[in-house]
């Protein structure tokens, strides 16, 4: 008992979280909310290891300085056991050193940057979702296999997220990257439209369109291609492949044949309607997060990652020291978090801080994604 | 009953009391002059009538107490035209647009005619009709302020040093015009003026203000005869 982390009592585990509830990235707030709602469910069922989860989720407005303040407050004033699912690359970067110096777990951060899986230098930090680079690699392999002479045009958001995706593709293409990539156009989140960039990409003679955009811009890009009567092989990053919130909004007819990758079930995909995990998710949404948007795949994400944490905590049992929590998070073996695609599991070890590294490709057909091919292992992060 | 009746008027700038509770009348169809030294409260009196400063007491215009009413309501209901201290030019728009704004509350068809009337009185303004009003010379802006007031076809005119900055020949002309308008159209006027000779000449009554109070009042010719007034205001 004495070894327990701060914030852990016989009755309670205090967990901190930062999330943008206000500001430009508030769209991600549904992650914080759904994680909270998920803990509510566990709590009402008796908690984890007999302890209630006290999930303190605070707003950082996606502003790194504010993340520092909020995280320090959580750790030093609220005395949370650890921070879980803090959202954003720049925000988590701002407290990266602090958390590792303080030796407080920065668990399952909600970002796909590659740098979170670095146990040698940052033993207290771990990501969760497959990193962006690995997804890029998956597309690169697909293009190399099916269209070895493709001319690729890239549209990417000018930040870590966008650049990681571009690196992934480049890595995957290897030597051929130079000759195959014919156009790179970036945009800022504050740009009103990406029209001009798409006109440029189209004009570069590209026949393959690598679309690294967040939902609003992804929908714009799909619509714009249609307006331009341009029909390249369209590789849409998983960040924006939600049927409910992107593809249906842009119009199914405009996106036919697009390729994307997934590791989570899309709750709007009718294919899962009868799946047990979907049903459990659905029932939970109805009861614990009734005003949440079921078309919003972040809710499925929150649900899944919350289960992963609970699994790690259960493994830790009554030894809820920070060291052991971290050790157990790094000791997940073939754990099937709900709502992962069939065949995908969570795996970590003392040297592998990338919990999920698998993808499956899919193609838009009619009003849904049609998955094809095997589950692909995209692990690159630890190597690069 | 007088057209404009002031009773126990006090006025305030924030905490400072600038007028200390005096009475003043303006009879229908008459011109009344208000004299006073620098800072005596002449401007404040005119502003109080238009609801531009915080005031207490009563100011009755055409039988209605206007204390507490908004400036725009007082001006529009009682057709009061105010030639303010500092002229109040709309500096960004043209001379003619300033005149048009003067007639803003009017709905009749005569407005066009009245431009010509103002231009007739002040030919200089016609030459400058499309010029940005803020670039007019000081005297030209003063003419504009008077012209703008006339555009309302007012029942009452409050004139705060209307000859300010005008050339002698124009000042003379201005007072002729005011006298004429008063006679022909029966417009009542309250005139604050340092050019006391001219003001008293066309006025029936006069008031002398001293530090927020009425120091003397009576028919204009009586006031003119007063030793002190002669020395301080008339210079002979």
């Amino acid at each position: 008992e004495a070894r327990n982390a701060p914030g852990v009592t016989a009755k309670e585990i205090k967990i901190g979280n930062t999330n943008p509830y206000s500001g430009p990235a508030a769209a991600y707030s549904s992650i914080g909310k759904s994680v909270g709602a998920c803990f509510d469910k566990f709590n009402s069922e008796g908690g984890v290891n007999g302890r209630q989860i006290n999930f303190i989720s605070v707003d950082d407005g996606y502003s790194p300085p504010r993340t520092v303040e909020q995280t320090r407050k959580l750790v030093e004033r609220e005395k949370v056991a650890f921070v879980f699912q803090a959202l954003g690359t720049p925000t988590n970067s701002a407290v990266h050193t602090y958390m590792n110096k303080k030796q407080v777990p920065q668990l399952f951060v909600a970002t796909g940057a590659t740098k979170w899986g670095d146990p040698k230098n940052f033993p207290w930090t771990m990501g969760w979702q497959p990193n962006y680079q690995s997804e890029g690699v998956v597309y690169a392999r697909y293009v190399l296999a099916t269209q070895p002479t493709a001319k690729i045009g890239i549209l990417y958001q000018n930040d870590d997220y966008g650049k990681d995706y571009v690196h992934g593709l480049e890595n995957g293409l290897g030597d051929k990257a130079g000759s195959m990539i014919v156009s790179r156009e970036s945009f800022e989140v504050t740009d009103p439209t990406i029209d001009s960039q798409i006109v440029n990409i189209k004009n570069s003679g590209a026949d393959t369109f690598y679309n690294v955009t967040t939902p609003k811009f992804a929908a714009q890009a799909i619509a714009k291609n249609f307006e331009l009567s341009w029909a390249p092989l369209h590789l849409l990053n998983s960040v924006s492949n939600s049927i409910g919130s992107v593809v249906s909004k842009a119009g199914f007819e405009k996106g036919q044949g697009m390729i994307s990758a997934a590791y989570l079930m899309d709750p709007t995909d009718p294919e899962w309607k009868s799946h047990d995990e979907y049903k459990a998710w659905n029932a939970w949404m109805d009861e614990y997060y009734p005003d949440g948007d079921k078309a919003d795949s972040f809710t499925a994400y929150g649900w899944s990652v919350c289960h992963t944490l609970v699994k790690a905590l259960e493994q830790a049992g009554d030894d809820l020291s920070r060291e052991n929590i971290m050790a157990q998070a790094a000791n997940l073996k073939n754990y099937r978090a709900p709502m992962l695609l069939p065949g995908i599991t969570v795996n970590t070890s003392a040297t592998d801080f990338y919990p999920i590294e698998q993808w499956q490709l899919m193609r838009l057909k009619g009003e849904g994604w049609e998955r094809f091919g095997d589950i692909i292992d995209g692990s690159v992060g630890s190597g690069s | 009953m007088a057209l404009l009746e002031i009773k126990g008027l006090k006025a305030y700038y924030g905490q400072i009391e600038a007028l200390h509770g005096f009475d003043m009348d303006l009879e229908e169809g008459e011109i009344t002059a208000v004299l006073g030294a620098n800072g005596a409260g002449k401007t404040t009196t005119l502003r109080a009538i238009c609801g531009m400063v915080k005031a207490s007491g009563t100011i009755t215009v055409e039988g209605e107490n206007v204390v507490g009413m908004s400036t725009e309501a007082i001006v529009a209901r009682h057709k009061i035209a105010h030639v303010p201290e500092g002229r109040g030019t709309f500096v960004r728009v043209s001379t003619e647009e300033n005149l048009r704004l003067g007639a803003f509350t009017r709905r009749d068809k005569e407005i066009e005619k009245d431009y010509e009337r103002v231009y007739h009185y002040f030919p200089r303004l016609k030459e400058r009709r499309n010029q940005q009003a803020g670039t007019l010379s000081g005297g030209e802006q003063q003419m504009l302020a008077v012209g703008r007031a006339l555009m309302l076809r007012p029942k009452i005119m409050l004139l705060d040093e209307p000859s300010f900055g005008l050339a002698p020949i124009i000042t003379e002309e201005l007072f002729k015009i005011l006298g004429k308008i008063n006679k022909e159209e029966g417009v009542s006027m309250l005139v604050v003026e340092q050019n006391a000779n001219l003001a008293l000449e066309i006025s029936k009554d006069a008031y002398l203000l001293e530090t927020g109070n009425v120091a003397m009042t009576g028919p204009a010719d009586k006031i003119m005869d007063d030793e002190q007034v002669r020395k301080s205001y008339l210079g002979y």
């Binding site: 000018n158 800022e188 439209t193 960039q197 929908a219 331009l228 | 725009e72 048009r100």
Partner: protein, 292 residues
């Protein structure tokens, strides 16, 4: 087709977006002598209202009815904001007003996310998205240009042919003198806010089919709207529209032929500032001379 022409046309199309918003900026500038930084968010919120009126989950009204209702609601809302929020602080310094603009910005942004969530919404267009002329421009964008021009004509006529336009400017620039000539300054301010909100709502409804409706839809767009209005001349509706188109085209040319997309905004802005250094009142703005 030639890349130059294509980028130009595409610039014109985004220019139409900026021009719409620039018109709203000019409108509010005439009414309050300042920018309203919450203008974009107000337009965004109006658009959500229209969306709610149209959406099946909402009231399911047909487009044009929703369009008109939204304009009316926005007008009332804009006027109400002036009366409720700004009238009590009319004596406060301008900078305090700017803080209130910022407050409104934050409030509308937050409220939209709270009420309508953050997933992009599709906003209907009566013109459809069919590609026109070789897939260079869509029907909606063409329609948008037309509506913008109609709006321009209406606003121009308002300021040119009604005394209210002049009175509004007078009330904004010199409230005390305006009162002295019988202008109801409070009414003018409310009217100006109402009209600006109404124009903004039209802008929002035209923009949303292209950018999709999200609470952050106007975040970046507003800067371009300001830029368009300023380049054109803040007092001129025609200038605002021309300015909006210019900004759209300029931005595209920069991004394509000169500096690449990473710096296109930066360079376009620098260019705009250079234009202002040469022509301080904007292209069609009235030069206001100050003298002593």
């Amino acid at each position: 087709m030639d890349l130059f022409i294509e980028q130009t046309v595409s610039g014109l199309a985004s220019g139409a977006i900026y021009a719409c918003l620039a018109l709203a900026v000019v409108m509010i500038y005439q009414a309050i002598d300042h920018f309203n930084f919450a203008q974009g968010e107000m337009a965004m919120f109006s658009t959500y209202i229209a969306w709610y009126l149209m959406d099946d989950a909402g009231l399911g009204l047909p487009f044009w009815i929703a369009f008109v209702v939204c304009i009316i609601v926005s007008f009332i809302g804009g006027a109400a904001i002036e009366r409720i929020v700004f009238a009590p602080i009319s004596d406060a310094p301008v900078l305090s007003h700017i803080i209130v603009f910022i407050a409104l910005f934050s409030m509308f942004n937050s409220l939209a996310g709270f009420l309508f969530d953050f997933t992009p919404k599709q906003f209907e267009t009566p013109f459809g998205h069919t590609p026109l002329i070789d897939g260079v421009i869509s029907a909606h964008r063409a329609g948008m240009v037309v509506v913008t021009l109609i709006m321009l004509a209406m606003i121009y006529a308002f300021f040119r042919y009604t005394p209210i336009g002049l009175a509004m400017r007078a009330a904004a620039a010199a409230p005390e003198s305006a009162r002295l000539v019988g202008i109801r300054v409070g009414f003018m301010l409310a009217l100006g806010w109402g009209l600006a909100a109404a124009v903004g709502s039209v802008a929002g409804m035209l923009i949303a089919p292209i950018t999709f409706l999200t609470p952050d839809m106007m975040l970046g767009t507003l800067l371009y709207g300001f830029a368009g209005a300023v380049v054109g001349g803040l007092t001129s509706p025609l200038g605002a529209v021309i300015g909006g188109f210019l900004v759209g085209i300029l931005e595209n040319w920069m991004g394509t032929f000169i500096v690449g997309s990473q710096l296109k905004l930066t360079v376009a802005l620098v260019l705009i500032i250079v234009v202002l250094l040469v022509k301080p009142a904007g292209l069609l703005g009235r030069v206001v001379v100050k003298r002593v």
